[in-house]
């Protein structure tokens, strides 16, 4: 199931009328524990407001003083609301109780997927489609207006920022990346000038990188066959990959499977055909 089709469970920490307030320490411990386990929590108070409920299931937690319903339905219907008394629960017990409700609702289990995926800055994007042509994993697509968009977030290769290196406008961000501007930091003129940020796809099509990889691979294979020394061959390959990894911070396994120029062109043609098919419907 795609992450986009899973439902989420929303938690509310209720400390209003009919419930005893938590101590600062207990509130912090509960929240930190829930957040680290992937849950989102609205913390109510007499001061200030939280955002209104949405269409996702709600679990209202509190130190309830009186009897409370186990389950209810939102005033506008449709949204199931459950209640959980958390009086005396340790953070571990609280997590277990919430997990039980989550599983019962078949809501998304958090933490099974590291949210690593490209985020497009449309203020900068020129819709050149280099990212779509280059991505190995089919993350990108186009909408009905022929605009590039991220369609399959969970196909993205964790820790691979290769497409952002290809983007000539520094328009592709990975918010969990270590350095700017890929992490979302402001783009500077220096960033745009810095050639190492941009692996020009025409250079790739020209075969510079591939040729080196092929040469290295051929040498390594030759050495392997002649000397039957697998360690040497592997070391040689590793050296080449290390250089490329340092240059673009791209995982070795991605570099090992870079698309061929023919493959890139084929993908570009497929993308164009998809655009044509979509736009012909409108």
């Amino acid at each position: 199931m795609s992450v986009k089709t899973e439902t989420a469970l929303r938690l509310v920490l209720y400390e209003g009328e009919g419930a005893l307030p938590l101590s600062e320490e207990s509130r912090f411990a509960a929240l930190q524990s829930l957040l680290e386990n992937g849950y989102s929590i609205s913390c109510t108070s007499q001061r200030g407001a939280v955002a209104p409920a949405d269409r996702t299931a709600l679990l209202v937690m509190g130190q309830f003083q009186d009897a409370f319903p186990v389950e209810a339905e939102g005033a506008n219907g449709g949204v199931p609301i459950r209640f959980q008394d958390i009086t005396g629960l340790s953070p571990e017990q609280l997590i277990a109780a919430v997990e039980e409700v989550r599983a019962g609702l078949n809501a998304a289990k958090h933490g099974e997927w590291k949210p690593w995926f490209p985020v497009i800055d449309y203020d900068r994007c020129t819709n050149c489609m280099q990212c779509l042509s280059f991505c190995l994993f089919g993350v990108y697509g186009v909408d009905f207006e022929q605009r590039i968009q991220v369609q399959n977030n969970d196909n993205c290769k964790t820790n691979c920022p290769a497409c952002s290196r290809v983007c000539p406008e520094a328009a592709i961000m990975f918010p969990k990346y270590k350095a700017g501007p890929i992490n979302g930091d402001a783009v500077s003129e220096a960033d745009l000038r810095r050639e190492k940020m941009k692996i020009d796809i025409s250079a790739l099509l020209g075969g510079d990188v591939y040729q080196v990889l092929r040469d290295r691979s051929a040498k390594a294979k030759s050495r392997f066959s002649k000397e039957r020394d697998s360690d040497k061959a592997l070391n040689e390959r590793q050296k080449c990959l290390t250089k490329l990894v340092e240059m673009g911070d791209i995982p070795p396994e991605v570099l090992m499977s870079l698309p061929s120029p023919e493959e890139i062109q084929r993908r570009a043609q497929e993308a164009a055909a998809r655009v044509q098919a979509i736009t012909s419907k409108y």
Binding site: A8, R10, L31, P52, A53, D54, G111, K178, A186
Partner: protein, 140 residues
């Protein structure tokens, strides 16, 4: 109208200093004000979580998270664009906890989402200037 407060725990990466996250969350817990917390804005954006829409609408929003440019487009990717004049992002990746806390509780909203194809200030750019490498990257 008082701004809502949203805290992102960035649970699935180590890019926000733990001490900053902890200090900000502790202060929020001690404040007695209502606030929203999310485990990870990136994950919610990837899920197109409807919570982002309810958060982006209505009252102005102060967000303790990461870079404003990233936050802006994470919301946008989930079809919940933040209003340019109604959101202030405090960057826990680079700001000190006390500065984030001060900004969150300041009654004044200072909208800081980037607009258009803006560039970093020239001073920062000069500091970031690095030796140039003309031509395509070389490997040997």
């Amino acid at each position: 109208m008082a701004a809502k407060i949203l805290f992102c725990n960035c649970s699935y990466a180590q890019v926000v200093p733990k001490e900053t996250k902890t200090a900000v969350l502790k202060k929020l817990c001690a404040s007695g004000v209502a606030f929203e917390t999310v485990a990870d804005l990136c994950e919610m954006s990837a899920r197109n979580d409807p919570a982002l829409e309810r958060l982006s609408q209505g009252a102005p929003l102060k967000i303790a998270a990461c870079f404003p440019r990233a936050v802006k487009w994470l919301f946008s990717a989930a079809h919940a664009p933040l209003p340019l004049d109604g959101a202030e992002v405090c960057n826990m990746r680079v700001e000190k906890a006390e500065d984030v806390i001060k900004a969150l509780f300041d009654p004044e909203l200072r909208p800081n989402l980037p607009s258009g194809k803006s560039l970093a200030p020239a001073a920062e750019e000069a500091a970031a200037e690095m030796p140039q490498n003309n031509g395509a990257p070389s490997i040997s």
